[in-house]
């Protein structure tokens, strides 16, 4: 369900990815518009993470190109990075720092300078844990520290690799609600997960399926 006035934010053009002499996918093309919630599906080893890393500009595809607003991301990397929020399956949370310091640093490096860390952390149910070292938090709380950034961002393209790992049911529902809200506000969400999404309806969710290939 894309609105008529939606704009193509990110497009993959004939992407080919080869890892360890195995073709993960080739000639893969698709457009992602504002308002889209896209789930990349596929078995382990099908290349979901590789695809997300290529879309985020962290890896280079073997062939093909990724375009942001119809221009290659290698050419307008600065604007693209400003409009991108990527969370890999490594959370980017320092275990030597507290939850609050981690969030502060992540937001500052993304360029935000006015925010209330405690207020944002309360949205991911980390009230009371602001001053706990991230290394002492549970796996789910550790993940939430990273996810907190989603509540304070004006980037339109969200690329999230397994965001629901270690998150409880209520947390997943809150995240899904946030995804819908973000897509309705003109953003797009690209996500990999093996869990079924409960709130986002099947009509709303676009799926891109990657098959495991043996050659």
């Amino acid at each position: 369900m894309t609105k008529p006035d939606s704009e193509t934010l990110l497009s993959a053009k004939n992407l080919t990815c080869i890892r360890e002499e195995r073709i993960l996918f080739d000639e893969l093309s698709f457009d992602i518009c504002s308002g889209d919630i896209v789930q990349i599906e596929g078995p382990n080893g099908a290349g979901k993470t590789s695809l997300l890393r290529i879309l985020a500009g962290l890896s280079r595809p073997y062939a093909g190109d990724v375009c942001y607003l119809n221009d290659s991301i290698s050419r307008n990397r600065d604007e693209f990075n400003e409009d991108l929020l990527y969370l890999g399956h490594l959370a980017g949370v320092k275990s030597e720092l507290t939850a609050e310091e981690n969030l502060y640093f992540n937001l500052r490096v993304s360029g935000y300078n006015e925010f209330d860390q405690r207020d944002i952390l309360s949205k991911v149910n980390l009230t009371g844990f602001e001053d706990a070292l991230a290394g002492h938090l549970s796996a789910g709380q550790h993940r939430r520290t990273a996810l907190a950034r989603l509540w304070h961002t004006n980037s339109r393209i969200w690329i999230l690799d397994e965001p629901f790992t270690a998150i409880d049911k209520r947390g997943v529902a809150e995240l899904e609600a946030l995804f819908i809200q973000h897509a309705d506000n003109g953003g797009c969400v690209i996500v990999t997960t093996h869990q079924d999404m409960g709130i986002i309806s099947n009509e709303r969710l676009r799926k891109i399926r990657l098959e495991y290939r043996f050659v």
Binding site: A56, G57, L58, S59, R60, D78, N81, E82, L84, Y86, G88, H89, L90, A91, G92, V93, K94, S95, E96, L97, E101, F105, N106, R108, V109, S110, G111, Y112, N113, E114, F115, H152, T153, N154
Partner: protein, 228 residues
């Protein structure tokens, strides 16, 4: 939700973060320093306490130990960030990567280079270094150790993705360290024999300026390759 963080703010945010992490992980500061002290103190024990020999080898011993200590601590520069995903976030930050990288190298130098410079004169006493060589020792360390950090960071950036990059790292960066070593020990020896040593200092300063300008670009590009 305003964005508008100046380059200086971004630089200091990262610098402060790295210093804070190091303070909570004190071993990172003390290990290289301890190594430096142990190596230098072993020389008089191994060679004997004859002042003439010791003062002859003092510049070389101090500089070689400083060089190895700096190399020992290098691996930590990007490894932790690579392992927990913070490095990816830095690569995708709207801030210039060169700036962030420079902040990390500066933090590394403050934690490992600066303590060496502070302790070096004490160790020089132990090696009976000539009195008039002290200013040269401090000057070469001040100008030279940042070069070691900057050049070393290129090697670390290239090998950060490898599981056992240690040996490769030494092979990559030792040749780059040698000019600094030669000119630094040369300057101290000249100073010890009361000759002018501005020439050597000028060359080390040139190396510092050159690597300060060029290394951040090389480090940034190497990190992009390593995380590919």
């Amino acid at each position: 939700m305003k964005r508008g963080i100046s380059f200086t703010q971004a630089f200091f945010t990262l610098l402060m973060r790295d210093l804070k992490i190091a303070v909570r992980h004190r071993g990172d500061i003390f290990n290289p320093l301890l190594f430096f002290i142990i190596v230098v103190t072993l020389f008089p024990l191994g060679i004997g306490s004859e002042a003439k020999i010791l003062s002859r080898i003092a510049p070389g011993v101090i500089w070689v130990a400083a060089l190895l200590a700096s190399m020992l601590s290098l691996e930590r520069l990007f490894k932790a960030d690579y392992n927990d995903g913070s490095l990816e976030q830095m690569l995708l930050s709207p801030q210039p990567l060169q700036l962030l990288v420079l902040a990390k190298v500066l933090a590394h130098w403050l934690l490992t280079g600066l303590p060496l410079i502070i302790i070096a004169p004490l160790l020089a006493v132990l090696l009976h270094m000539e009195d008039n060589a002290y200013p040269a020792l401090i000057a070469t360390l001040l100008l030279g150790t940042p070069v070691l950090s900057l050049l070393g960071a290129i090697g670390v950036a290239l090998t950060v993705g490898l599981r056992k990059g240690g040996v490769l790292l030494s092979l990559l960066i030792l040749p780059l360290y040698i000019p600094v070593l030669i000119f630094a020990t040369g300057a101290i020896e000249f100073a010890a024999s009361n000759q002018p040593y501005d020439g050597q200092l000028a060359i080390i300063a040139a190396l510092l300026v050159g690597s300060l300008v060029l290394a951040p670009f090389a480090i940034g590009a190497s990190l992009r390759v390593s995380t590919n």
